[in-house]
């Protein structure tokens, strides 16, 4: 059963001169244990679709159903906190928190605090292939690849089943990109996450379970 369904979703950006149809009746469904790649040219609407799926925005029309329930009827804060984890191209780690705190932050939002949270953070950091020595470090002391893996660990710490990634390898070199793709695939295939990746990276698209191509606000499955 699809964990996330996009039903006839349209989205318009408006400014005083024009209205841009970023999404135009998009329909698709995403299941757990799969890694989906959303590819398309710049301006095709893939990041907009990801934002809608991440609960950062609501669609202009149509519905996004999470486990059958429209996001418009869910408290978006709660949705983002408990159901949708996002990984950004620029990592978006909280600069004033250590790696450990960044990872434990989403747990604390859900009331999972203290030593247990810190132990879990340590475990997640190791799972994403980083040594525990990075835990007390601040994000700006890490390389891009390390930061992105911390971002993945933070996403994993949210214990969601839906993991959204917006150009996760956009700022990384080949080696680090490869590691991140491996990690995401592992999360999808071994941990059962539904991983949706917005990307230009052909490697990701090639290794994804399913690939959706966005064109002029419409979705086509390859």
């Amino acid at each position: 059963m699809a964990i996330l369904e996009v039903k006839n979703v349209s989205f318009q950006y408006r400014n005083k001169y024009q209205t841009v149809n970023a999404l135009n009746g998009v329909d698709c469904a995403f299941e757990e244990g799969q890694l989906y790649a959303l590819v398309g040219k710049s301006g095709s609407g893939k990041s907009t679709l990801l934002s809608l799926m991440a609960g950062l925005m609501l669609p202009s029309s149509g519905e996004i159903l999470f486990e059958g329930k429209p996001t418009s009827q869910i408290n978006l804060n709660r949705y983002r906190r408990e159901h949708a984890a996002v990984i950004y191209q620029s990592f978006r780690l909280l600069p004033l928190l250590t790696v450990s705190e960044n990872v434990t932050y989403p747990m604390e939002l859900r009331g999972f605090k203290g030593k247990k949270a810190r132990d879990r953070a340590e475990e997640l950091i190791q799972r994403v292939g980083l040594p525990v020595t990075v835990l007390p470090r601040f994000p700006d002391m890490l390389s891009g690849g390390e930061q992105q893996r911390v971002a993945v660990a933070r996403a994993m710490s949210m214990d969601t089943r839906l993991l959204l990634a917006d150009e996760p390898t956009g700022n990384l070199d080949t080696e680090n990109s490869r590691r991140i793709i491996d990690l995401l695939l592992k999360l999808a295939h071994e941990d059962g996450y539904c991983v949706i990746v917005v990307t230009h990276d052909l490697d990701i698209a090639a290794r994804a379970d399913r690939v959706f191509r966005m064109r002029d606000g419409k979705l086509q499955e390859d």
């Binding site: 804060n77 983002r80 909280l94 928190l97 932050y105 604390e108 002391m141 933070r154």
Partner: protein, 1039 residues
Amino acid sequence: MQATKNGLKSALRTPGKTLLFLLILTVTAALLTISCCVYGAVRGYLNDCDDYFHTIAELEYIGRDYPDQTVYDEAFAAAVEENRDTLSGLIASESVLAWEPASAELAYSPLIHRKDMLVPDPDTAVLRVYLDSYNDQIGVYNAIVTETLYSRLDFTNKLIMFRTLDGDASLACSDTYLVIGRFYAGRLQNPCFQQTAVTVEEDGTNTKLPAELPAGASPEEEAPFLRYAENLRAANDGLPVSYTADIEDNYLFHQQVLTLLQGRFFTREEYDTGAKVCIISEKTAGMLGLEPGDKLPFSVYHAAGDLYAAHGHTLTDEGDYEIVGITSHSDSYPYRIFLPDAKAAGSAFYPVNGYTLGQFRLKNDGVPAFLEAAAPLLEQGFRLNVYDQGYAAATAPMEELLFISGIFLAVCLLLAACALAMQSHIFISRQRETGRTMFAMGSGRFHVCVYFLSAALALTVCGAAFGAVIGRQAEGWVFQILQRFAAQFAEQDLRFSTTRLAITRTLDFDPASSLGAYLCAAGILVGGTLIFTLLFALFSLRERKNAKKRKKEPRPRKRAGRVSRLSGSFKYGLLSLRRGRGRTAAVLLLGLATALFFGRLSSSLIGYQEQLDDYKAKAVISGSATDCYGKRISGLTLDGGLVAQLCSAELLENCCVTADLGHIRILGGDDGGPINYDFSEYNSYLYESLFYWLSKEPAWIGTNSVANTPQFHFSESGSVEWLDGWSEADFIRLETEEYTYYDGYLDMSSTRQYQTGPSVCALPKDLMEERGIRLGDQINALAAYYHPEWGEILCLVQLRVVAAYVAPVGSTTVFSPLTLVRPELEDRNLFRQFNAEEDRDIWVGRKSWTAENLAKYQAMGLTPAMSYSSLTFTLTDAAKLDETRSLLAELGFTWVHSEERTKPYAMIEDEIYLNTTQSMERQIQYVSVLYGALYLLAGVIGFALAWLLLLSRRREIAVMRALGTQSGRILGNFLLEQLLLMAVGLALGIGVCRLTGTALNPTQLLLTAAFLAVWILSTLICLAAGLRKRSFAALTEPE
């Protein structure tokens, strides 16, 4: 050209922004224009005031006969000699524009025969008399005047009663003698003439003339008598002449004591050449039937010393003087003649006839410095009267206005700078890529700058034009407000004030539009646009350098962990507070600096206020009743009712009154042995002459406070030494004492009024040393005393010397208790018991009594004494200056400088107090305005900084939101962080203030709290903006 066109197009194609900038620039230009206009108008008015008002300072000497302008005081001449260097220094001081010594000469013309009361020596005559017979009974010769060499009254061929120098019959009858003497009013039918001994000064030596010259004396022997007669004629018939280098700045015209009625003042050429022209008084013109254009022949009569002494003078500058103007006259200056002479200026100090040494023309704003430089002179018996015609009164409010308009102008300039900077920055940053592309495509920096400048200048010019139109419309309205403001300041109560004693001119503040102000405002705007646009344009073309990434060793886990173990909603706030590093330090530093800044400013303001309060509390302001020129404070006739009401009011203390008792001759000692006068009912001369000679003796004055009498009033250098057991308070106590009366031929039993009050006196130390009198001695004295009922009477008195005084200037006055002569006075409030029989009409006709006081004192059965000749006082509280003024006005005192008024005048010596307090208040006002602006600026900076700090963290906020953090939690975290940071910073600042010795004050705390509130408010506003839905856009923005 292409760049200009494109630049203009870019402005037109962003109409929203263009309109917004245009609006901002229009408002800025309007404000700037108005502020320039106001500042220019006020500055212009102050410049006009400087030209319109002239400040002079009259330098006088407080001699024993002050303010008599006809005496020659040797002490004055000695003081001038002693202070020659100080005087020269003062004349050369920067505040002085010109010095004009008081010239006091006489113009002698054979056409003039004065018959007024101001003739200096009306009774002295030089006669040739034929002695007919000697009257043994009364000791006089029957004589016939055969020739009158000089006499105001012509008794030629008439019989006079001639008395020789010693009153004996030493001259031979049937002989003719040339004699000098004076007529007196005897009790005989014929005029009485007393021969006098004359000493003349010729070639620096004093020569005693023979008492008389018999007929047949040689012309050489008679020559001194003839010269004496001629000098006497010149002294008596001469008109006072003043040489002046600028008649309009002469005190008399400066203060409008005299005004020009006909003709004109002197021209500059006449001053420079010393032309034979003159300006005379209407009285002189009337007496001689002269008009402008007529000629008046006279010679100027110069004196080396006493102008009015009939010897040692020379007549110079003889000629026909053309009358160019006729002035009004006053009782004090009936016949004054003015002659032009620029040479009068310089460093000359003489002659010193009268008590005015001369006058300074001062820079209007140089008075304080001048007074400071003159301070040493003022301790030597000199006095300065500064007359500014109302300059200070007119400019004081405008100085305030200038300061405020200056602040306003500065704020407008700042605003304009901000607006222009913002416009340039936003305009250029929005089009940075355009600029860079143009640059990349080969357009030079110049073309890029022209592209930006053309749009910015077009906007600025339009804004400036619209602003000027609005400013022009608002200008009249603003000027009206300013005029009202100035009028409000001008309504200060300055009655009786020495500072503003003579406001003789007023200059209306009538601001007008000025093209210069508009051009100035436009210039500032265009200039600012050019500078900012160029700066930002060039900056936008600069190549960026990649900032090095910070790579530091990780912090020890232990430290981070302790905070990490914190939990709860505010954890992030607390963590970021600790880890914000530069940001945290900046906020802490800002808080610390702000608290320090506020502490310093508020404490300095409080310090100023405390200084002012302290000064006001300690200031001593004295005052006195005076004549209409604000000069004379003794010899007045002051209604006792007025004085009593004034002194009994709680506004004044140390009220000192004096009553002139007449003159007193101290008997005993080498000089004043007992007079064994041959009193006889026939010897009328002796009786008359006794009064005459007594009038030359020291003045006898009754007072209730020796140390506050007019002799001491102008200086603090005098001192009084009291006999053990005596003090000021004892001086006026009442006691019953037996009295010794003179028991001679004349019935003087009417002097019985001296039966109560201590028969004591205070004498000048010099006199005591001269006569060998010591404190505690009993002295005998003969006194001439004017009794209101019986007229002038003689009495012999015994007085115990209980005080010896040293007056600031030589004084021979003998002080006795007021209670000695007014024993009925019961207390210092100068009232006595009302006697229904004697005082039946005492209240009648006393218009000066206030209804309240009348009822009050009638009910108490009290009535005041009749009159006093001086009154000095001190204000109980300097802060009650205005109340004292009101009381003086209510009681009928006046402050108006006019001879025609008959009301008593009063003067409060508040010049130093007013200058000091006004200067301090002005300083406080300036500082308050300045500090207010600084507080505001600090608030704006705080607001902007808080905004910027939060703005730089909008991604953090977006991430937190993306992670599902509730808005309340984000708000709480950031608010807590900012609150704690700023609170700690401010607390640190307050702590540092305390450590550096600045006491905490409520203003500082209030301001600090206000700043904290501003900080939190700006944080809240920025957070509210950051928590909007669109804030997620920050997540996808490039780094």
